[in-house]
Subunit: 403 residues, 4 copies
């Protein structure tokens, strides 16, 4: 690779930011069991402490997504204080995730509930989330609705879309300058018959009507088997409607394994389409300050049910970086030429060439250049942090899904 191109690859890698989710630092599990781990944070501040370790070692994870109410702080100036706390640790508060699925009222849905009182309550919560964004300076409101039905006939599918559209519109109108909403879709779970936003088409159709501040959020674990996720990414980029990724991986359903763990080739293909569609050209920060660039948020959204959480997150950040590095190494000119020529094996070969490259040395070099650790996993292990938190975080209530 020519020196000049390599410099561009390194530059793009150094600009990529991967947001980590506050909830991934806490306990999680399946419906069968949540296994507690020693040293897990008990407060949002302790989650930020952990996130700061991830950023220290990787240099690539400066923002942390919040989940409300899990990360709610009370009192005047509480979010500003939280933002300061983050800043002192080299972090910023990122996307605000609304949660309208963990109260008994939401049994039959939140914004699509047949009961208008429940819908109002849910909408109030969404509005609170925008208030919090105002306080934290977050750009994105992420909306994932668990809303749906378990049995045919349980509710009117179309009426639920009407209610959804109404709530989305109310939130959209409330968004301030520089704020966006990203609408996540998911095929199933916890709804087992019909989910109200089950696929990208549904999210896209709603976002299109809402306007430019509404974008689709692609969670890589939320599709039917066989779905070509990179196609969706490419399509949405072409439409200017790709807002965010929730990275994680799966062998079966929404397994929420570490990004890149189940199908590293798929992650590479997705990131190649992101690159090809210009999605690596503008960092979210840059996009937040101007209208340039696609402004795609790269986030992790995963659960570390059995593995230690901090190193799992470090590994995931690295996996996204490795896939990105490979995507950047694809020789676009050679690829375009083979494609034009209808050279199936040649074009595929150009792509695979980049994928087969071992990019770990390159990333080690890049990390050192930007002051992080060449080997973040080893550096974290050597840091003693894991032992410290086990020793110090005793008593209190561990953070976890719903906590």
């Amino acid at each position: 690779m020519p020196e000049q191109n390599l410099a561009a690859v390194k530059s793009a890698l150094s600009e990529q930011r991967i947001e980590t989710p506050s909830w991934a630092y806490g306990n999680s599990g399946t419906r069968f069991k949540v296994f507690a781990q020693a040293g897990v944070p008990r407060t949002v501040r302790e989650k930020l402490d952990d996130a700061a370790r991830v950023h220290r070692h990787t240099g690539a994870a400066p923002t942390v997504a919040l989940h409300i109410p899990w990360d709610r702080v009370e009192g005047a100036g509480a979010y500003a204080a939280l933002a300061s706390y983050a800043q002192e640790r080299g972090l910023r508060l990122g996307t605000v995730n609304a949660n309208v699925f963990q109260e008994d009222d939401y049994k039959l849905g939140s914004v699509t509930n047949p009961d208008p009182a429940v819908r109002r309550k849910a909408l109030d919560h969404l509005m609170e989330c925008v208030d919090i964004m105002d306080a934290t300076g977050s750009r994105d409101l992420k909306l994932w609705f668990s809303d749906g039905t378990n049995y045919p006939g349980q509710d009117d599918l179309r009426a639920r879309q009407d209610r959804l559209a109404e709530a989305l519109w109310a939130v959209y109108e409330r968004l301030g300058s520089g704020q966006r909403l990203v609408l996540e879709y998911k095929l199933f779970e916890p709804a087992f018959y019909a989910t109200d936003v089950p696929d990208w088409g549904t999210s896209y159709a709603h976002c299109l009507k809402l306007g430019p501040k509404a974008r689709v959020c692609v969670d890589t674990g939320h599709h039917a088997p066989g779905t070509n996720i990179e196609f969706i990414a490419a399509f949405l980029l072409r439409e200017g409607k790709l807002g965010a990724f929730d990275f994680n991986s799966r062998f079966y359903a929404d397994d929420d394994l570490m990004a890149g763990a189940a199908d590293p080739f798929q992650l590479f293909r997705i990131l190649y389409e992101v690159r090809a569609g210009g999605g690596l050209d503008g960092t979210p920060e840059r996009a937040a300050q101007s209208d340039e660039g696609p402004g795609i948020a790269f986030m992790l959204d995963q659960c570390h049910n059995i593995e230690p959480k901090i190193p799992a997150i470090i590994r995931s950040v690295m996996n996204v970086q490795e896939a990105t590095a490979k995507a950047l190494l694809v020789d676009r000119e050679a690829l375009a030429e083979a494609q034009r020529a209808g050279d199936v094996l040649g074009a595929n070969g150009v792509l695979m060439d980049a994928y087969h490259t071992d990019v770990r040395p390159l990333l080690a070099e890049v990390r050192e250049e930007w002051g992080a650790d060449a080997d973040p996993m080893a550096a974290y292990a050597a840091s003693g942090w894991a032992e410290t938190v086990v020793r110090e975080r005793v008593g209190g209530q561990q953070a976890g899904w719903g906590a």
Copy 2:
């Protein structure tokens, strides 16, 4: 059920028209083998002869979809003559299906091919299909593109969308008054990596840009496992973008079994959403003459690889009718009340009540009222047609996929 409601059910049933596909009368098969059947048509006229038998016995299948070039007829006035031939048999020519997948030129795609010469050729064919529609008086042009890629990197996913949009636009502009295009989607096969129109979202996004004459065609066998098809139907109806159904059924992929054979409950749920969305309120004929009603075309698109074709088509028509009858029997008021009350089991029960009803006697009655046979399968078997065609259709080239 009150007498008045029953009359409405009967009336709706008597208005439903199910279009049969000319190709289903010919031989078909898998890549492993096409099994020939005795008596299979050798010409489009013989296909119409068979279709007339289906309509005679069911009274519900007056139109026949054509596939070009399989059903191409040559010479001045040839299509008008074909239309007359159909009319003499009580039929009309229906949807025109373009075929841009069975020539060697289309190996790497038709309208999305990287080679502009191939794209031009494909577009010419699409334009020819509209010419044929002018001659036959058909309302709908059905576009299914097998276009896609088999290997990552083989072609540029986004560029292919650009080419697709360009071709669609050209066709759309060419459509005459009262003509529509319906854009079909399919997850995979024959493309095995990325299909250019893989899902309803892609079809919807293109149709939305094209305008009101472009609608989505839902083939019930073209989805990823687990996809909720009735949700898609409900969503598209709400958007005014549902144009047509290609009915068939499947256990696995695009198996193209008889409609309703693999999952009769799913077919019922789909038709219930069609009813709930107003999709049974206007027949295609009515919609073609005015702007009233949704104008959804109900078509079969299936293959009878091992079973005799005419009775298989009769059975499929009956299956769609039975599912429709059950959908019409759903007590909408009771359902709405249970839904409003959040009564999960009650609402589901109302739906299931209709599904569990044996509607065969009702349909027998309705058929007799409109002059068809109470038991179309038995009537066909008794008619001697199967024996006649075996005896008479000797020599020549049997019709089949590609023939």
Copy 3:
């Protein structure tokens, strides 16, 4: 249908017993939320009270499956007392379900855990379950292992099979006369990379080595998409290795919806194969006392996350009965003749004829003949039980998964 045949159908229906699971009476949910319901049992005795209502109205659910430790009772003679309590309510204690997935020790597996101490603990629990069977007189020990791995490389797949075989052998040796073990399989969840007993083949292979007291348990929600469950039932019956069904239904994964709710046609096909394979010829009771008959246990294993639990269980029992009734109505002679003749449509038609029949009147009649309610749903609703338990079951800890 000839009078004589109808009598046989009724007789078979009256002999079918459907076991209900104690845990289905308690709260359940997804990893996102467990929604509590008013009036839910707080003790195993209250679960039996509820089960007695199901049996009273349906007349077909006289046994209740226990889950240990959820239903553990302490003290000398405690299980005998529980059995008496059941008996006084017209019930018997049924299958004992071992639970080796809800303690922190089992994070990396139970009987396949790399740590021998954990394996020993798990085995001790299995042995305790057989002790309980001795006390309750239960015939079957149901073994479902959540054991598996989330990440490639996490553990040695083959070594885990060795450990599994060792534990199974120890349990098998411990079984008393008239006792059996049924080994359940499940594709995934909670393990997301490799489950140690993921499919029927694995369960079958282990059971075959163990001997005649070991049989496969088929949970209808535990398969990969597209799996033909009735084929598995037919195959295992042919091999004499089908031990039990866990009925429930799903649209996506292990959704645990009410049996028959998602795909009633599939449930019918399964029960038809059970009938065809002789699986309805012997009730479990009869089989327990002799070697006659296949001795298949028909159990429900499902979760009622959003619907009221008792009527949901009643509905599920009715759904299994309706599917069974339809299976019994299949005209076996006509079917065999059409099959012999290679008459694809004819043979399919014979099957569908039975499926399309509305068997609800027949079942109402049969229920009244055996002294249950013609309409169990209505009878339960009218009984006032739901209101009673809401009023009386106040305070204490509601039963639920893990409780």
Copy 4:
């Protein structure tokens, strides 16, 4: 990696043999279209000529699988002559594939057909295949049955198993010393309701009853979505019942893409389990001459519908080799230690370390050591063979599926 270990890796790589299928050199396609390619072989000898090029450049593909009747040669001594022809080109004739799916008689099945005359015909063909094995010296008879049904009720599932068992037994009895049968399974296609050998469990159960000469053949494209293929490989190796692999890859169903093209990580995981289970310890040749080693046949079974066939096969051979090399590089000791310690991330890390390694330089080195080309793709492209066959293979009938 210590010098000594590297030598072992190289040695294992140099012993791996990958059999190529004669039919992959001919045209293939989907049910929609078979695209013809210039220069495609017209005879089995020309297929061998092409296979010889693959072996020349890769040094790893010395045997060619035959498909009967596609590769049938007539006359006394015809197969011996064919074997000589192969030998002169450095090849041997490999597995004999029976084909009982491409005649009209097989519409409703071959060995499981309800018609005994068809069953007899099919069995005769299988016997002929063993005769051919006698003549060619092939070790393995590969049996894939397309047999199954398209509609519920079409035939008796259990009776079909009886017929299958009878046919298998007859073939097994006929096998000579040193001969084996490998029984392939496939979920669906061309049967769309129930396939008679749909999964590994069915194949395993039959092979177990037959005896030691019967083994399971795992085609990597023949599973339900989500199936963990490496688990099956590990399980069958533990049981001594893994006979062969048919390598190919897929994104959706039985796409028959180039091995390793769709999910290279999966191919690596499969080959890791093969290695861990001792499956790389004995080459088929060695196993054929003795009872040592597992004797697994590594075969390609794929279709090159749109890409040029010879380089596609070369690429596939290389993909299998690369996956094997990575599997061999896994540090088994470090892995076992991490597994014992329950170190989830550590154990996964050991595996991923090998996967992320770029093994192309190593394989280039190994190839040169054994006299093949360091870069087989480039060497083939430079050889002029593609141009030669296009020029010379004019006229006649191109080979293809069914030809």
